[in-house]
Symmetry: C2
Subunit: 331 residues, 2 copies
DNA sequence: TTGTAAGCGTTATCAT
DNA sequence: ATGATAACGCTTACAA
């Protein structure tokens, strides 16, 4: 392994000078700079990031904590983050939690020990996660909350406009004539669960429709619970004539189950789902989808992070990304 | 930031002893060990990974270089790798190359500078990539080639059984009565391109069917080129009655284009595609798919890496994973 | 403009 | 069994 020392020797200067060249210090003569650069070339020298970061007590590494990259939702999020990080000469540490607070905690401890420059996190559980994430904040590690909040913490946050998305989607169903609309939502301890339900309730209220708890199903966002939920809805004594499904993974499952029962959409039951995860790409979807630009979500989060890295004093930012109600898949 | 020094002070021992406890050295009295552990607890001390790794000149970081996480194929690959890495207390650096050798090179330089413990790579270009990857090998960084080969390098490799997969798929089409079978394959500089074409040719040969270059389309695996390819095939003076499409992304695109033309599968044209990326999940696929367990692919690669990390002397391994020809989607 | 030297937090060697 | 101390590769005061 070649080190600054080797370069210094070959260039006939001290290691300090090499370091200055490496860090583009202005206080170095042009010809020395040239000689050093030549030595670097010749030896194919790459400064050791570990050593550099240890010395500076600052890395060029960003921790990305998400539930599961296998959830289509996070794929482009991660890519969006990576592209911004790459442009800033930073590198991504990918951490999948499976929504387990304990695995999340383990990863946070590792990221802390790795002295990451910052962390972008989609928390496993908004209340529980705060405790672990606080350790990052206490150690001055910038944190960006993505898609889910960190309520006790004052950190930059980028969210989807959940309430308005579901309010308008529900309104769409209501104006289409539906009076009994089922909801398959997520847990209250996650913003996308809580707020999407709120949007739904808001719409019902503004049209003076009754809120029937028996057709509001709160799940943990998994397909398994979505399957149980849609089953229960369809088995109601008076089944809903429409249903709003509040995540991509669940929408797919609901679609499958409805198909399996031989029911038709929207004649037997109307559906509005979330995210163009799957079916949107391979068939003209038989129902509208609330879509979010997940790539943008990632990019925004990364932008917030690097902005804060550049200037830690700016006020905490909070961004809401708009959604779209899409009736037809892309060509 | 609490350091060994703080712990040592609180426990009333030297930093060396703390380090011994941290590294489970047997040469430390039980009561001192207890005192140190208590101090660690009390201070909530986490050993700095950077410092540790710099000192040991060995990290617990694995570089994962793939073309694009947005390609569904790599999603579970990465997750498979992560799960094994996590179990081994290692962490993942995710690098997307977009199949660009230059971006790949940049990432390899970074990984080298980060002193990663090992690298799992799906090369952008088997010939070009070798040059950059050789730097890793030269620096004794274990490398595992995934899905694509590193021909000039003697490294552990995990591949799909491409030839047999496409031979049997083509055979299936032949025994179904097809005599004029089109092929949409990948480039020769990638194993999945090259070998899948070989399997196709093998099958034709063994049934004494002619090889018609005009219905063999070599693409770069992108949907764009797949679209052009299927268009050309369908516009042939005598169009093929069947087509074998050699990647998941391309299969989806071909499916769309056939649909758009109002043609029906398999009556107008029979299709065999790759990977259960999309349509398999939302509708009973109208045609069979060659599927690979990408999660296993990732796990195997990671296993190879950690095996070599544990014992660098074992002979280079080469694994071929079997595929399945799937006619019906999972329930 | 350049060099010397200390130090980032850890571990390994050598004493004791 | 434990403690001093040097070293990993780099950056940055402080001198010169």
């Amino acid at each position: 392994m070649t080190t600054v020392k080797d370069v210094a020797e070959l260039a006939g200067v001290s290691t300090a000078t090499v370091s200055r060249v490496l860090n583009n210090s202005p206080r170095v003569a042009e010809d020395t700079r040239a000689r050093v650069h030549q030595a670097i070339e010749q030896l194919n020298y790459r400064p050791n990031r570990l050593a550099r970061h240890l010395r500076k007590l600052a890395t060029q590494t960003v921790g990305v904590i998400i539930p599961d990259i296998q959830n289509h939702f996070f794929v482009s999020v991660v890519r969006g983050i990576e592209d911004i990080a790459f442009a800033n000469h930073h590198v991504l540490l990918l951490c999948n939690t499976d929504d387990s607070p304990s695995r999340e905690k383990t990863y946070i401890d590792i990221l802390l020990a790795e002295e990451v420059a910052g962390v972008i996190i989609c928390a496993a559980d908004e209340t529980i996660s705060c405790k672990a994430v606080r350790a990052l904040v206490d150690h001055q590690v910038p944190v960006v909350a993505l898609d889910r909040e960190l309520p006790d913490l004052s950190v930059d946050t980028v969210l989807t406009d959940n309430i308005e998305a579901c309010r308008s989607a529900t309104e769409y169903l209501i104006t289409a004539g539906h009076k009994r609309i089922g909801l398959i939502a997520g847990p209250d301890y996650l913003a996308p669960g809580r707020e999407r339900r709120q949007g739904y309730e808001l719409a019902l209220a503004s049209y003076d429709l009754p809120l029937d708890p028996s057709i509001i199903k709160i799940t943990d966002f998994t397909p398994e619970q979505a399957r149980a939920a849609i089953k229960e809805l369809l088995d109601e004594r008076i089944p809903p004539t429409a249903v709003l499904v509040c995540s991509g993974l669940m929408t797919l499952e609901v679609f499958k189950q409805i198909q399996r029962r031989g029911l038709s959409i929207p004649d037997d039951i109307a559906v509005v789902g979330f995210d163009d995860t799957v079916m949107n790409h391979c068939l003209r979807s038989p129902f509208p989808l609330i879509t979010q630009s997940t790539y943008d979500l990632g990019q925004f989060a990364a932008h917030l992070l690097f902005r804060r890295l550049a200037d830690p004093t700016i006020p905490v930012q909070r961004i809401r990304l708009k959604t779209q109600l899409v009736f037809d898949p892309p060509p």
